[in-house]
């Protein structure tokens, strides 16, 4: 009969611990990110910017002008040359799940992870 060595037990312990942590992590969907601003330009992969840094981002591509501002943990579209100007008129957003969308220029800005939002989605 093969007896397991102490090293085997340690290995098995860590394997189980690793699997357990993975399991719990996904169970509770642990979010380690702080409040972030997710910026998507058309079908490109999103980029993330921390909401607590004051900055102005030029999202313009070719003739499509969009200037986004992050200021005092609030986000707003400062300027756009889109036809409907809905993104500029949207004003400031600061809560999780709030978004600014510029459909004509295919830009979406969403706030993630502040955990202040009260709803899961907005019907409009």
């Amino acid at each position: 009969m093969n007896m397991m060595k102490q090293g085997d037990y340690i290995l098995i312990f860590f394997l189980l611990l690793f699997a357990g942590v993975l399991f719990l992590h996904s169970m509770y969907n642990i979010q380690e990110k702080g409040a972030m601003v997710e910026i998507r330009l058309a079908d490109e992969d999103p980029v993330y910017v921390s909401i607590d840094q004051n900055t102005t981002l030029d999202l313009s591509r070719g003739d499509l002008v969009n200037i986004l501002c992050i200021e005092d943990e609030k986000v707003y579209m400062l300027e756009s040359n889109c036809r409907d100007q809905l993104c500029v008129r949207r004003g400031e957003i600061s809560l999780e799940g709030e978004s600014i969308v510029c459909l004509p220029h295919r830009i979406s800005i969403v706030i993630l992870g502040t955990d202040k939002g009260d709803i899961d989605a907005l019907s409009q």
Binding site: M1, N2, M3, M4, D8, I12, L15, L16, A19, G20, L22, F23, H25, S26, M27, N29, R40, A42, D43, P46, R83, D84, R89, R90, G91, I93, E98, S99, V101, L103, R106, S108, V110, D118, I119, D120, A121, L122, S123, Q124
Partner: protein, 336 residues
């Protein structure tokens, strides 16, 4: 003995890892069907599933777009009265549209394609047409101008055009739910440009869906509905509109009878129904009906609930909603 323990441990690890997979959540944002779509799959998510969903959205868009020349709808609209063989999904959507037109007494009608094109609301060419133009185009509207023949053939009276833009998003939302269910997903929320569909619940809680404040420029909501396994669709006069030189606002919900934007006491109508395509059709239909007719209509429907908001911020709820609606803006009041 050691071997046995080792095998058990390995098996346990695999089981735990497979549990991890079944609890995996993923979110995807895509620009499709002239809007922004968020797919939020809260369990059993993987790249393949999300890809299947986005591919299906693109497919529905390419079949049912009013403006894309390769779409079924474009082909039907430009067939000069000839019968066109379409994809079974397109046929299903048009058939449903016809059914909802009958149910709503024509307040929702897919044959308003030429009217939508004439106004051009939301396009570069939005303008108020002349009375003569509107009268001519209203003549092309009506169910008698559409013929469906099984399987999958559609013909229109020459001059009539159909636009399923008002319900294609609802159909797409239903398809997202179907695909998610088939993959074993138990909890998901899909947002197709403000048209929301939820699968299951959030653990022991319901999903909380905000209802847009029609008087706000931003995404504020005046109330919340708590829902599981259903769809929440809102139509309002704030969505797409233009204002002419004299300051009159023209919104995109066109009345098939008058040919003008529906002009009544309503600012917005929300429909809650397990079928999103139906919710989509009836949010438009109830808006066109107006408050009184709309309320009477919805009370006769077993599978739909509705929220009406008037221009004076009065909120009317269908009977089944009183328990699940939460008003969260004091400037509104619930009258029923």
């Amino acid at each position: 003995m050691g071997k046995r323990i080792f095998s058990i441990l390995i098996l346990t690890s695999f089981l735990l890892v497979s549990c991890v997979d079944s609890h995996r959540s993923m979110k995807e944002v895509v620009f499709v069907m002239d809007t922004i779509v968020t797919l939020d799959v809260r369990d059993h998510a993987n790249e393949k599933l999300l890809k299947k969903m986005t591919d299906r959205l693109m497919e529905i868009d390419s079949l049912m777009s009013f403006s894309k020349e390769e779409s079924d709808i474009y082909q039907v609209n430009h067939a000069k009265g000839e019968s066109v063989l379409v994809d079974s999904s397109t046929y299903y959507v048009v058939k449903k549209a016809v059914e909802y037109t009958q149910m709503s007494g024509g307040c929702f009608d897919p044959s308003i394609g030429r009217l939508v094109a004439l106004w051009g609301i939301g396009s570069d060419d939005e303008h108020v047409p002349s009375i003569k133009e509107i009268e001519e185009v209203v003549e092309t509207i009506g169910l008698d101008k559409i013929s469906l023949s099984e399987p999958n053939s559609i013909s229109l009276m020459d001059g009539t055009m159909i636009d399923v833009g008002a319900i294609a998003k609802g159909f797409a939302a239903d398809e997202m739910i179907r695909i998610a269910k088939e993959a074993g997903v138990e909890s998901a929320i899909f947002n197709l440009g403000g048209n929301i569909s939820v699968l299951g619940s959030k653990g022991s809680d319901s999903f909380r869906i905000g209802i847009r404040n029609p008087f706000s420029e931003s995404d504020e909501y005046f109330g919340i509905v708590e829902v599981t396994d259903t769809s929440v669709v809102t139509s309002g006069n704030y969505e797409r509109y233009f204002i002419d030189e004299s300051g009159v606002k023209y919104h995109h919900i066109l009345d098939p009878f008058s040919g003008y934007p529906a002009d009544n006491e309503l600012s917005g109508v929300t429909v809650i129904c397990s079928s999103s395509i139906k919710a989509d059709a009836f949010s438009t239909a109830l808006y066109v009906m107006g408050l009184e007719k709309g309320l009477a209509f919805i009370e006769q429907m077993d599978d739909m609930e509705a929220i009406f908001v008037t221009n004076s911020r009065d909120v009317y709820l269908s009977t089944g909603l009183h328990a699940s609606f939460l008003l969260c803006d004091d400037s509104f009041r619930i009258l029923k």
